[in-house]
């Protein structure tokens, strides 16, 4: 009796909460349900099925697609490895570079805008365009800018490097592009966050005789921790979404050694009609990101949702 009273009270309160919230969340919820959640369920279903695309026939086959992906040769593992390497290599550069440049720009008396815009330009340029330029810069022989500079102008190397055609130089080009393209974004986020660090912290440090570098190391970096976490999570999710660079720069060559999960997924689905395996790759990628985020959350002792507390 007593219990049910509480329950009904709770129910009423819950209903009231929903009624209040509905006008606000419902439009978004409907759209997300139709165009994101339903497709997601569809993808998960396909990952457990054989999908005959023209007939729309879906036959349940259990975990066969996952088995095929995981045991089906080295391409998946190269792709997975490359996603992780991409994160390990690019994220620290993006974070440190973004932090450093934002801090320096913040300390400029005049002309900060020029640098803010300049460093942000790569971010607002489309991936496709940027890929074209990089493809062109890393071109073969003396036609590519990088080769030309390294061999013909500065004589650092003796011979031209076929950058985009080899496993490690191809990956390096993909990493470099990722760093170049994303550092400006990190910078912008940090610039905004820097406004939130109380000026008296720096004043105090100054009185203690700390210079630009000491202030940076002992005040800026610690104060930016929540921001760093935000940037890091975003960039790690981004690392698992590397796609256009691979498509346009290396095509995964040689033999899938510069591939990435998204590229593998795209190739399987849209070139080979293997939608089941493609969906399995997508799910593996998503679960990897979730696990990574949770692990990072733990190490940072922060919660992305609660960080502003």
């Amino acid at each position: 009796m007593h219990k049910s009273a509480i329950n009904s009270k709770k129910l009423k309160k819950g209903l009231r909460g929903w009624l209040t919230a509905c006008p606000f969340i419902l439009p978004g919820l409907i759209l997300v349900g139709l165009f994101i959640l339903y497709p997601m369920v569809f993808t998960i279903r396909i990952s457990l099925s054989e999908y005959q695309i023209v007939q729309g026939k879906i036959t349940f086959i259990g975990l066969q697609n996952f088995k095929n992906v995981l045991a089906g040769g080295s391409r998946f593992w190269y792709a997975y490895r490359n996603n992780i390497l991409y994160a390990i290599v690019t994220v620290p550069f993006i974070i440190l570079g973004g932090m450093l440049f934002s801090y320096l720009i913040n300390n400029l008396k005049h002309g900060g805008s020029i640098f803010r815009v300049g460093f942000y330009l790569p971010v607002i340029t489309s991936w496709v365009i940027v890929s074209l330029v990089f493809q062109y810069m890393f071109n073969n022989s003396d036609r590519g800018l990088i080769n030309y500079l390294l061999v013909d102008v500065f004589h650092i190397l003796d011979d031209y490097v076929p950058w985009l055609l080899r496993e490690w130089s191809g990956n390096a080009a993909i990493w470099l592009m990722g760093i170049w393209k994303n550092m400006g974004w990190a910078m912008l986020i940090y610039l905004a966050a820097l406004q939130g660090i109380p000026a008296d912290y720096y004043e105090a440090a100054k009185l203690d005789g700390a210079g630009l570098w000491k202030s940076f190391a002992y005040i800026t970096i610690p104060c930016l921790r929540p921001t760093t976490f935000y940037v890091m999570v975003n960039m790690i999710i981004g690392s698992f979404n590397v796609f256009i660079q691979v498509l346009m720069l290396t095509g995964g060559n040689p033999n899938g050694k510069t591939s990435a999960l998204q590229y593998l997924l795209y190739d399987k689905a849209f070139n080979k009609f293997e939608f089941g395996e493609a969906s399995a790759v997508g799910l593996i990628s998503a679960v990897s990101i979730v696990i990574l985020t949770l692990v990072l959350n733990k190490t940072f002792k922060l919660d992305s949702v609660e960080k502003e507390g």
Binding site: V41, F270, N271
Partner: protein, 431 residues
């Protein structure tokens, strides 16, 4: 909060899993299968008479470039509209890079075009998915087929039926810089590969270039030097791809590469052929579009020639496009009518003006072709050009081939063992 996220995610996963299984068991509601098509009309004339009165629009997807599109819109479509006033053609130009992906997506969404110009390499794959109408089921097909050249027609074959009509054809022929050939001591185009190799041997820099290791790039060389891929029926690679002749062909390519006569751009990082032919390469193999892209070839001393023979035989690879009717279309008969129209003599001649080589036997010796120094070479070369393996798994076969050649040239794998394992893997795909 952290815990609740974890809990929520695991809950979500379970919910989704259950939903997936449930929906997997129940009959799919997304799309009504269109397995059973209405019985095909017996003759073309009958079907066209049945649609005389109503207004119909057919969607036609293509990847023509500017020149070809202009020709299509200004000459070809008016011809069609004249003879078929009730049937409008909505010609949609797609960009070449994503065309295959567009078609794959359209299969999933049921929004395929009625007719499309499709790369010859993809017909079998689309047919296997059930996306195309088997045109050989029409009663007039066998008569029609006699007019087409054999190699282009064969690219439409899948499991005994033809799923398209040849639309245009091409192949690789030799693009030659006569100035550099002159430096090597060859006047004009070399007639034999032996002659060319002897002349280029001591030059010390690459004289012959190929872009990549893919089938389109490498097959001509592999075939030229005596290699074979499969049996004639395309059922088996073991015994052919790994035969002594094939291994020797691959060894010949390696030898030329080692002697600095032959370079693979995507392996060596050498200058691209379109660029290097002006200054350093004596020869490369390319489709007719190279000559379509430049007006000043003759002035630069660059000419087209059939690929020099080796052991007395020339070789090349067939390219081009077919025109196919899609199974999801509402008007298969009319679409077939349009496909036939596109392969008719007048249309073929009109499209030839923009460089689309015809597929009709009757046009091989046509004045328009024989009088053109480039087209005549390509039509001649087509006689020794072979089609790639017509398999629905052609993407996978391509991948195996590229991997094999890459492993030979980059990792230095022994050609015999590389080709043997490739043959075994291709066998799997052909099964």
């Amino acid at each position: 909060m952290k815990k609740s996220i974890l809990k929520a995610i695991s809950l979500l996963m379970v919910a989704i899993l259950i939903m997936s299984c449930l929906s997997g068991c129940s009959k799919s509601a997304e799309k009504v299968a269109e397995d059973e098509k209405a019985p095909l009309g017996s003759t073309g004339s009958e079907s066209s008479s049945s649609v005389k009165d109503e207004e119909i629009t057919l969607t036609f997807w293509h990847t023509y470039g500017d020149a070809e599109e202009a020709q299509l819109k200004n000459e070809v479509l008016p011809m069609w509209e004249k003879s078929h006033p009730n049937i409008k053609i909505d010609a949609v130009r797609q960009d070449g890079g994503q065309f295959h992906q567009m078609i794959v997506t359209s299969f999933g969404t049921g929004m395929s075009p009625d007719v499309a110009r499709v790369d010859i390499a993809n017909i079998a794959a689309y047919a296997k998915q059930g996306g195309l109408v088997a045109l050989s089921d029409y009663s007039d097909f066998s008569d029609l087929a006699k007019d087409y050249m054999d190699a282009p027609l064969s690219t439409n074959l899948y499991q005994g039926k033809y799923y398209g009509l040849p639309l245009d054809t091409n192949c690789k022929a030799a693009v030659i810089n006569t100035n550099i050939m002159g430096e090597l001591g060859i006047n004009g185009a070399p007639t034999t590969m032996e002659e060319f190799i002897a002349a280029a041997k001591d030059r010390g820099s690459y004289s012959l270039n190929v872009s990549g290791v893919g089938d389109w790039d490498m097959y001509p060389y592999f075939w030229l030097f005596g290699g074979t891929l499969t049996d004639d029926g395309f059922t088996k690679a073991t015994g052919y791809l790994d035969s002594e002749a094939s291994v020797n062909a691959m060894k010949k390519i390696i030898e030329l590469h080692d002697e600095k006569i032959f370079t693979i751009r995507d392996i060596d990082g050498s200058v691209d052929a379109w660029d290097g032919i002006n200054s350093e390469y004596a020869m490369f193999f390319e489709g007719p579009w190279y000559f379509g892209s430049y007006d000043d070839c003759a002035a630069k001393g660059i000419i087209a020639s059939t690929i020099p023979t080796f052991n007395g035989n020339s070789a090349s690879v067939v390219g081009g496009e077919d025109i196919a009717v899609f199974a999801t279309g509402k008007h298969p008969e009319v679409s077939y009518e349009f496909a036939k129209f596109m392969t008719s003599k007048d249309v073929q001649l009109a499209m030839l003006k923009s460089g689309q080589l015809p597929i009709l036997k009757s046009l091989v010796n046509d004045e328009a072709i024989t009088s053109n120094p480039v087209w005549s070479v390509y039509m001649k070369q087509l006689e020794s050009a072979k089609a790639r393996i017509p398999s629905p798994n052609n993407t996978a076969i391509q991948e195996i081939w590229s991997e094999t050649v890459t492993s030979i040239f980059i990792d230095g794998v022994d050609p015999q063992s590389a080709l043997s394992s490739a043959a075994a893997r291709i066998d799997e795909e052909l099964r």
